[in-house]
Symmetry: C2
Subunit: 409 residues, 2 copies
C-alpha cells in the first residue's frame, strides 16, 4: 500500500507499520489510526480524476483507502448513497440548507457496509477464508453480505436482543450466527476469544483500525456531492464511536489533500440513557460504562470500544453533543419519513432527532449548510417502526365503512 505510511496510536502516539488488521498499540493497547501519504495520494486523486470516474461506489476513493494493490474488490455496490436536499424537512426546522445522506440504501441497508467491504477485501487478500465479528446487527449483516458476495465464510456473534429482521438477513447471507445470551459486551468478548482461537479475520471495528477507513467514505461522498463544499454541521448517531470517528477522518483527509478549505462541526447524537461518549465529552471525565437502555439498538453500546477516537473527533471538530430520548427518536423517524421520504431505523434517525432538538433550541443558524446522516434502513427494525408509525385504519370493503374515515382527515 504505497498510500499508507503506517499507523499511530491515538493514546500514546507510538507509530507502527501498516499490517495491523487485528492489533491495537503494541505499547499501550490503545486504538491505532491509519496515516496516509497525502503527497502521493494527490498524484492519484483530485477533483478531475473523481469527475471522470465511472465507479459510483466507495471504491472511487481507492487511493484514500487501506487496500493492497491488486486486491479483489467486493462486487456489491457499497457507498455513493444519495444525498437529498430536504427542503420540506428543513423548513419545518427553520433550516434553509438541510441535506439527508441516506445510507440505508447500501447493499445490506446500513452504513456498516462501508466497513465490512474493507474487511472482506482485506481478508481475501490475506488469504483468509473466514471472517468474524460481534455486532448489534448491522456490522454483522453487512459482513455476512459482503463475505457472501466474495465467497468467504462468516461467523457472527450478536447479543440476544438483536432484532429478528437483522438476524434473518444475515442467516439468509449464509452466515453462521451465534446469539449470545448476554449484552453487546458479552458478544464482543466471546467473539474476541473465538477469533483468537481459530484465526479468523477480525472485523471488530474496535480492534481493526482499517474499518473506520471504510466508514470515512460517507464523508468523502458528502463533500463531493456538495461540490467540495464543507458542511457547517454534520449530525450522526454515535454508539461504539467508530462511525463518528470515520466521518471526521473523511473530512480531515480531504482537507489534507486541499480539496476542502475548512472542516465541519460534528453533532454527536446519543441516546439519553446510553450516552457514555457524550457524557465524557461534556464532563471531561473518562468514559464510564452505562446501561444499554434505548430502542435504538445499533447505538445501544454501554462500553464504547472506539470511545477515544470519537472523543477526539468531537473535540477536534468543536463538536456539539446532544442526547435524545426514545420518544424523540420515534418522532424523528416519522418526520424524516413524512417530510423527506426517508425511512430510517431508530439509530439511523437518531442523528436527525438530535438535529431537530438543536434546531428547536435555535442552536443552528438558519443559513447553515447541514447534513444529517441516516445510518440504517427502517425496514431493519419493523417493531420500532410500528411504534413510530401507529396502526393503519381497518375498513370493510365498502364505501359506507370508508367514507367517514376519509372525511375525517
Amino acid at each position: 500500500m504505497k498510500n499508507v505510511l503506517g499507523c499511530v496510536c491515538v493514546s500514546c502516539g507510538k507509530e507502527t507499520g501498516a499490517e495491523v488488521d487485528t492489533t491495537t498499540c503494541p505499547s499501550c493497547g490503545g486504538m491505532l489510526d491509519v496515516k496516509y501519504d497525502y503527497a502521493f495520494i494527490k498524484t492519484k486523486l483530485d477533483r478531475q480524476s473523481l469527475a471522470s470516474s465511472a465507479d459510483f461506489s466507495m471504491w472511487r476513493y481507492l487511493p484514500l483507502l487501506p487496500i493492497e494493490e491488486g486486491s479483489e474488490l467486493s462486487p456489491l455496490r457499497v457507498g455513493w448513497s444519495p444525498l437529498y436536499k430536504a427542503d420540506g424537512f428543513g423548513e419545518s426546522l427553520g433550516l434553509k440548507n438541510l441535506y439527508i445522506k441516506d445510507d440505508g440504501l447500501n447493499p445490506t441497508s446500513s452504513l456498516k457496509d462501508r466497513a465490512s467491504a474493507i474487511a472482506a477485501v482485506r481478508a481475501k487478500k490475506a488469504g483468509k477464508n473466514t471472517v468474524a465479528c460481534s455486532s448489534t446487527g448491522n456490522a454483522a449483516s453487512s459482513l455476512a453480505g459482503n463475505a457472501a458476495a466474495m465467497g468467504l465464510k462468516s461467523f457472527i456473534f450478536v447479543p440476544e436482543r438483536a432484532p429478528k429482521g437483522k438476524v434473518a438477513q444475515l442467516l439468509v447471507f449464509g452466515a453462521h450466527v451465534f446469539c449470545v445470551k448476554g449484552n453487546y459486551e458479552d458478544a464482543f468478548r466471546l467473539s474476541a476469544e473465538a477469533i483468537s482461537r481459530w484465526g479468523w479475520y477480525n472485523r471488530n471495528a474496535a480492534i481493526n483500525p482499517y474499518l473506520m477507513e471504510g466508514k470515512k467514505t460517507v464523508s468523502l461522498e458528502i463533500a463531493e456531492q456538495l461540490g467540495f463544499k464543507t458542511p457547517d454541521y454534520v449530525a450522526v448517531s454515535v454508539g461504539d464511536g467508530c462511525t463518528i470517528a470515520g466521518v471526521w477522518k473523511g473530512f480531515k483527509d480531504l482537507y489534507a489533500l486541499g480539496l476542502l478549505d475548512k472542516l465541519p462541526r460534528l453533532i454527536s447524537v446519543q441516546a439519553s440513557l446510553c450516552c457514555p461518549i457524550n457524557r465524557a465529552a461534556e464532563t471531561g471525565n473518562a468514559i464510564e460504562k452505562m446501561d444499554e437502555d434505548t430502542i435504538a439498538d445499533s447505538i445501544a453500546v454501554g462500553v464504547p470500544r472506539n470511545g477515544d477516537k470519537a472523543l477526539a473527533a468531537i473535540r477536534e471538530s468543536n463538536g456539539i453533543t446532544v442526547n435524545v430520548t426514545d420518544d424523540e427518536i420515534l418522532s424523528a423517524m416519522r418526520r424524516l419519513g413524512a417530510a423527506a421520504g426517508v425511512f430510517g431505523e431508530p439509530a439511523g434517525a437518531a442523528g436527525s432527532a438530535g438535529l431537530i432538538k438543536l434546531a428547536e433550541q435555535k442552536r443552528i443558524p438558519p443559513n447553515a449548510l447541514v447534513v444529517s446522516i441516516v445510518t440504517g434502513n427502517g425496514l431493519k427494525d419493523v417493531v420500532n417502526a410500528q411504534k413510530a408509525a401507529g396502526e393503519p385504519n381497518f375498513v370493510n370493503p365498502d364505501m359506507a365503512s370508508l367514507s367517514p374515515l376519509v372525511e375525517s382527515f
Copy 2:
C-alpha cells in the same frame, strides 16, 4: 410531451391522446399503451448523451418517459440499481454469464419506486395534492415515499394480509392507510370507488398506462449497464403483469431507437398456486381467476389487471413460463443471499427461483447472457426471511458453550 404521440389500446387497437392517466380505452375498456416518437427521441437520447449524463437515476432516461416538460421530478434516487455479475451463483447453476439486478436498493426498497415516481411527478404537474392506490404493499410504500418527498398526501388501500413491515413503512411516510378486510381484489375495487368519488390521482398500475413506463427503466438500465448488449434471457416474477410488461417495453424502446440489435426472451415466473398469467400463456385460454395462495405476497394476484400486456410480452418475446412453489422461493432466497450477497423478498427472489428451475432442467444454455431481476428487498418480509433462513445458534457467553458448535461446522 413532444416525445409522446399518444396511446393505443392493447385490446382493440384504437388510438387516443396522451392525457390518459386515469382511463382505459374509451371504446372497449382495454389497457392503453403509450406510443413514442422515436425519431424525435433519437435527437435527445443516444449512447453519447447517456455516457455524459451525471444523473444516475431513472431520470437519465427522461426523453423516453411520459413526463411533461418542466415537471418537478421526485427528489428520491429511484433507479440505477446495481447490476451484479454473480459468478458464484451462476457457477452453481452452470451459467457462465449470470447477472443479478438488485432493485431492492431503490429508495423504498422495491422496483415499484420506478412507477410511483412517475405517478408522483404527474400528479404534481396536474395540480393534484393527493395520490392513491391499492397494493399488496410495494406499490403502496413506494407511492407513500415518493409522495412524501414531493409534498403530496397519499391514501393507500392494502389487503389485510399485507406484511407488517410494508404497512409500517408506509405509515412512517405519513400515508393514510386503509387495511381492507378482504383480498387484493377487494382493496383494488374499494380504491377505485374512492378515487372516483374524491378525484385523487390514480396510481393503480392497472388503469394508469404511464406507470409501466416507469417500470421499463429497469430494462433501460440493464441494457446500458451491459454496454448495450441484449441479454439472452431476463427472468422476472409476475403478479399483476405490469412489471413484465414494463420490462419488455424498455427493451423494445431501445430496439426501436437502434440502441439494441435484438430483443431478449423473457422468463415469466409465477407462484405454482397463483399463476393465472402463465396458465393462460401456456393454454392459450383467457386469464381466469386463481386463489392467492403463496408466501410471495407481492405476486399473489388472483385477478391480474395487466394480464393482457403481460401475455403480449411473453408471446412477443418468445418467452418461457415457469411456476415455482413456496419452498422453491425460500430456497432461492437462501441461494441468492449466500452465493451473491443479495437479499430478496419472496416475490423478489421468485424470478431467480424460476431461473434455478430452468437451469436445473438444462433449458438455459451455459453461455447465455442471463439477467435475473430481484424486485424487492428481503427486509420487507422478515417473517418469510426467517422461514428461509432458519434459526441462529443460541450460546452462553463462554467458549465451553461455543466450541462444540464451531467445530461441528
